[in-house]
Amino acid sequence: MIHLDINFEFLNKKALQIRRTVLQTAIWGGKGHIPPAFSWADIATALFYGNILQINPQNPKWIDRDRFILSKGHACLSLYAALSDLGFFSREELKFFAGNGSLLPGHPDAEIPGVEVCSGSLGHGLSVGAGMATSAKLGGLPWFTYVVLGDGECHEGSIWEAAMYSGHQKLGRLIAIVDRNMLGATDFTENYASLGSIAARFEAFGWEAVEVDGHNFHELIQVLRESRKRSLGERPLCIVAKTTKGKGVDFMENSKYWHHQMPKGDQIDLAWEMLGGVPKND
């Protein structure tokens, strides 16, 4: 089991490391969804380095592990960065991201150690997580299920089918974290299919919902630590994490033009500069 010190300096260092690995991996692969990965990079840091997820890199299928699903699979570069750093697979694999026969495709699949399901076609993860949480509830099992959703993903009808089911079933140890960056793939969500208050929507389906700053470790760690105290038969929890898409590289931030495009030329230098400088041995 992983037991890491929880201190803000450490978390900030790991969050920067994740963003640097995201950029480097995308450059190695010549592709990747960098801004969506940056958007939840701090959430990933809190989950994987804040002693929240109970997982074991030496035994990825440990039966009592927490289940984690990145439902917005296109943002997998942050997941790959964390999993490789924790030792689920070699960091060398990142160099072959999206290459022929690579362990690491552009959207995650379940062959990757530490990845539970294929994701990236949106709207699947919450139902699968609900099934896992149902299994835990039926058996009185100790683990929790965490699912990270995109806000654009919440346009999928299947998300609300799953929300309705999980609320009714009182899957208290199912925690959905919505990466609320206000952007879909091509535009701001409120410009084409308004989502309004996602927290209110989940509450209407029988969930408890809280809103936090998705880049503030104090808020993230606090709400995630609280989530560990939840019992099997209470309402599921939705954490709406307000985030900035592209967080960390200013020209990508909060822009409808930055979803899966790659930085080029000077943009790459600029991005490295904002993330602590060009890597020497990354």
Partner: protein, 325 residues
Amino acid sequence: MIELVKDMLEKQCFDFRDAVFNTVEAIIEKDQNAVILTNDMGAMGLDKISKFAPNRVINVGITEQNMVGVAAGLALSGKTVFVYGILSHVVFRALEQIKLDVCVQNLPVIFIGVGSGLAYGVDGPTHQGVEDIAVLRALPNMTIFNPCDVYSASYSINKSYEKQSPCFIRIDKENLPQLYSSQDDLNSGLLVHSVDEGGVKSGAIISSGMLVWSALKAKEILLNAGIDCSVIDILCIKPLNINLLQELTKNLAWVIVVEEAMSPSCLGELMARHILIKNKNIQQYVTLNLGDSYLLGSAKREWAWEKFGLTADAIAKVILERPMN
């Protein structure tokens, strides 16, 4: 060899759903990790199971996508999951979940889809199960059973449970007599009906599901006209027992494939691929199906069989009117 069923209507009839749920009940009773999900579809058998295992019969509401996703999550956490709903709704509403959540990871999710073919013909294209085989066949790891009687339906449930991988069982809602019994070995997936096991047959009528009964009647008509042929019931559509199919058809002068399916989805094309490569002397290869257009309006099964030439008389006529050398 299985004896021809005669005087069908005089025999005791059984309900497919009762047979299926009796079998599921036995599994759920002995296996604490077996769970059944339904999208608000009722069945008497389901009610019976609910009484002794209320937590393991979950009505998820009319949410097919969610139902299949939940099934996958349960299966990933050690459960064997039965999923019950109307065949066409489960397949087409939740196809991506069946593909990505269940089949890619080869999970023990057993779909029981009621309403194969024109079982719900009078309810229009929303309820007809006439295109699903084409799409389910395209999914790696998927097994497809298409039983024509209660015994083979029950066998399909047990076999699927034993396989612990994605299975789709297409079931009807007719009351029918039992065609097979414990004396028949269904494991080959192809069931052969022949009067004389050793005799030389001129041809075969291949079918699957409900039209096996029509094929059996057609066989009788042909026999009375002096033409001996086999009926081959395709119980397991995928994986198909290709070797046995080729062995059974390699010397035949004619083959008719008859089914309640749209022609682009039909078994006729699938069978042709395997049969014609081994049988170079075949004189007639005929596929009888529902064509390639939607059946709008009400289409009662018997009416549709007449319209599309799927009755026993129509099947037999194909051979009687075009005699072979």
